[in-house]
Symmetry: C2
Subunit: 444 residues, 2 copies
């Protein structure tokens, strides 16, 4: 943990050497988190004190709008220096977060060539491979020898974020091959890049970030080149960014499965009003949907008045249906998200869930019958409860098996079928099953 007071002290004394020693004792992300807690003028003072390259390393971990607020208030020369040190994907994200007019002013501080390539990155919609890509990679023509390549790396390598791979490109910038730095070092110095280059696997800039992350994780790579429609290399996405994507997607799925819309930021950064908005929508939809259980129950008012003990088991029966449905839905939504299950597996999934449902349903039947007996109700009411429990378990398994797969097929997010959603769905239908079984078995 960084001592904030100590940090303030260092800023006040303004001794560069002391500040550097202090900064070097910590990681940039830790320094960034502490910096966020400082007052605005302290933040600026710290940025001015540190060398631009160190300042950029810290700035990288702040939110785009915070980055802009700081850069905007610094001397224009310093802003330009820090801007040039920041990774290009970070700069692109910041530019997209601020007003067009503000972004243009900042872009003017960058060298022409860099600015143009950055503007290409900025054209891709959010959540695509293109929007995550960095342009700080090293490309080289295939005719270069290992020696020439290494010399080039020595010249430009300090600026590059991706150095594990060198990308071989053709005359028009089209991606022709990939060579790992390890291979370059191991090869004979006179070898040409094209002789040892591997066939590149690239993704189109428009590919969704989730799919890109899946690809990278499947093949255990640390970086993936991103190309445009003409197969020209326009950037590289790195494993650290894709890890963030995977974690965010899992968080979103969990929040959605919990019956809420996904939050935009972290828990504490979300305001109470934001939490309210994300939750109330589904709560109301489900409330209105659940309200029809009232209609169902009123429909069976006579049956209920006749055998009031039937009411005792309502929460138990619909609760069990909801639990079964939630189990199945969450397993399947996750399996769909990580690509273990596809729509073409629909019948396999239904069969698997139904067989499992028969097994769990039978177990529940026995326990439900015993429970009814323990509550001291008539034995045929016990039979009604046990049988209903079993049918509801089967019904819930069936519905929960189908819905996520169909939604996935329709290109909707299957996580919309949340636990609360399936529970609500099974509640009303479960009651109909319950009273139908009751009327038949009890001859009402």
């Amino acid at each position: 943990m960084i001592d904030l007071n100590q940090m303030r002290q260092k800023i006040l004394t303004a001794d560069l050497d002391q500040m550097l020693t202090f900064a070097e004792a910590f990681r940039p992300i830790d320094l960034a988190e502490s910096l966020e807690k400082l007052k605005a003028e302290e933040q600026l003072r710290l940025m001015e004190l540190l060398p631009p390259v160190v300042a950029a390393e810290i700035l990288e971990f702040l939110e785009p709008l915070v980055q802009y607020k700081i850069l905007h208030n610094l001397d224009v020369n310093l802003t330009s220096q820090i801007l040039n040190e920041l990774p290009s994907d970070v700069v692109a994200d910041m530019m997209l977060a601020i007003h067009r007019y503000q972004a243009d002013k900042l872009l003017d501080l960058l060298p022409d060539d860099y600015r143009k390539r950055l503007q290409t990155l900025m054209t891709f919609p959010e959540e695509t491979a293109g929007s995550l890509a960095t342009i700080d990679y090293i490309a080289a023509p295939g005719q270069w020898t290992m020696d020439t390549t290494l010399e080039h790396i020595r010249k430009v390598g300090r600026e590059a974020e991706i150095t594990a791979y060198i990308y071989v490109t053709g005359m028009k910038g089209e991606l022709l091959g990939v060579v790992s730095l390890k291979k370059i070092i191991l090869a004979d110095p006179a070898t040409l890049l094209q002789e040892i280059a591997d066939e590149p696997i690239s993704v189109p800039a428009t590919m969704g970030q989730e799919e890109t992350a899946e690809l990278l994780s499947r093949y255990d790579w640390v970086a993936l080149p991103v190309v445009d429609a003409q197969q020209r290399l326009i950037g590289v996405v790195t494993v650290d960014d894709l890890i963030d994507v995977m974690q965010e997607e899992a968080t979103e799925d969990i929040q959605m499965l919990g019956g809420s819309q996904p939050l935009q930021g972290t828990y504490f950064k979300s305001s109470v009003f934001h939490l309210y908005r994300k939750r109330i929508i589904w709560l109301l939809i489900l409330f209105v949907a659940e309200a029809y259980t009232g209609t169902v129950l009123r429909h069976y008012e006579d049956t209920l008045t006749e055998v009031i003990s039937l009411a005792f088991f309502i929460p138990l029966l619909i609760g069990t249906g909801g639990n079964t449905g939630t189990q199945t839905v969450s397993t399947l939504v996750r399996a769909l998200a990580v690509g273990e299950v596809h729509f073409r597996d629909l019948f396999r999934v239904i069969r698997k869930e139904l067989v499992t449902g028969i097994m769990t349903g039978s177990t529940i039947f026995i326990i439900a019958y015993l429970r009814a007996w323990m509550l001291g109700v008539e034995m045929n009411v016990g039979l009604v409860v046990g049988l209903t429990a079993m049918i509801i378990v089967l019904w819930a398994s069936f519905v929960a098996a189908i819905l996520p797969l169909v939604l996935h097929k329709l290109k909707a997010d299957p996580a919309v079928i949340s636990g609360p959603f399936i529970t609500t769905l099974v509640d009303g239908t479960g009651l109909i099953i319950y009273f139908t079984v009751a009327r038949i078995l009890l001859h009402l």
Copy 2:
């Protein structure tokens, strides 16, 4: 997609060149998935045909027991060659999956030094950093120059899995520093490793894999050195293994939040009986817990008989409580898992959830009152329903805010507090709230 028949054909013709061209057109993991679908003798034939280094690349992606089955049936010389080409963490996993006696026989095929280091890796319990580590990294003394180091890399680099970093170790193997390959290439050839080495961040071999993955993802690294209690370097964990850990942990959390015990393998690899076992435990626990709603309802039988319309709203009210609880629980369990929330935040979380609960509760109050009015029940029953809905929402928010944090503090997995769990908990207590409010407001 790989054409299985074409693959079989290539195996039958047994032309090495053709087989190699075929294999090179695909990625090892894709070949591994196809290989799994072949008959045992075809699998062996394929392994014999390919050069050991290619065979090892494919074998790497199979399950430990499948790996063993194949290796066990190959000629002992070939087994030994493939074994030496496999990444050390893969070999260790396989050794741990098979019988001690079988493992010893395989270990005898490895060079002495390698075997000893491998056996060290094998001593660490599952799900720790040590169990994930590979020993195929490059270490060097700090007194080496860049030139000497590069020469060494050229000699041993082909065997190494981790080449992005060179680890500087002392006389006793203690970890002194880390130097990236990029830095080695950029530095002056006469520089000594110790002059440019960075302070290493390492993890103890006993650290949990989840915590290790969090650390790596926080600092955007691609590899983390693992040390023993004496700070001696014993292995390196790589980002690809930790991505798998993160994905598995997210899957487990989702399955647990869905009210099931986590599955051991993927959905389709889990047998129906395995699914049954993982689900029935929680289904039964929740069924028995839910059964007390029957006791509560029987307790209020008189009230219910007097005002039968109260029964209409039971599913709606307890359903809404469950939905609210599920929303809160899933958000918090995930926030705990990714380290956004800690136990020390308990009061902040409770306050945040209660304020949000007051907002959602008030909205629900209005809608519930309207719903009761639409169902045509007496207005004071409507008031009972609206007021109960609001209190239940608040109550569910409160319980769902506390439980995951307390469980986390007690070092238990907070995901045990699943949606179905909180729903069940709120069902019974919600009924007590309902009938208490009803008795007071309706003067029963």
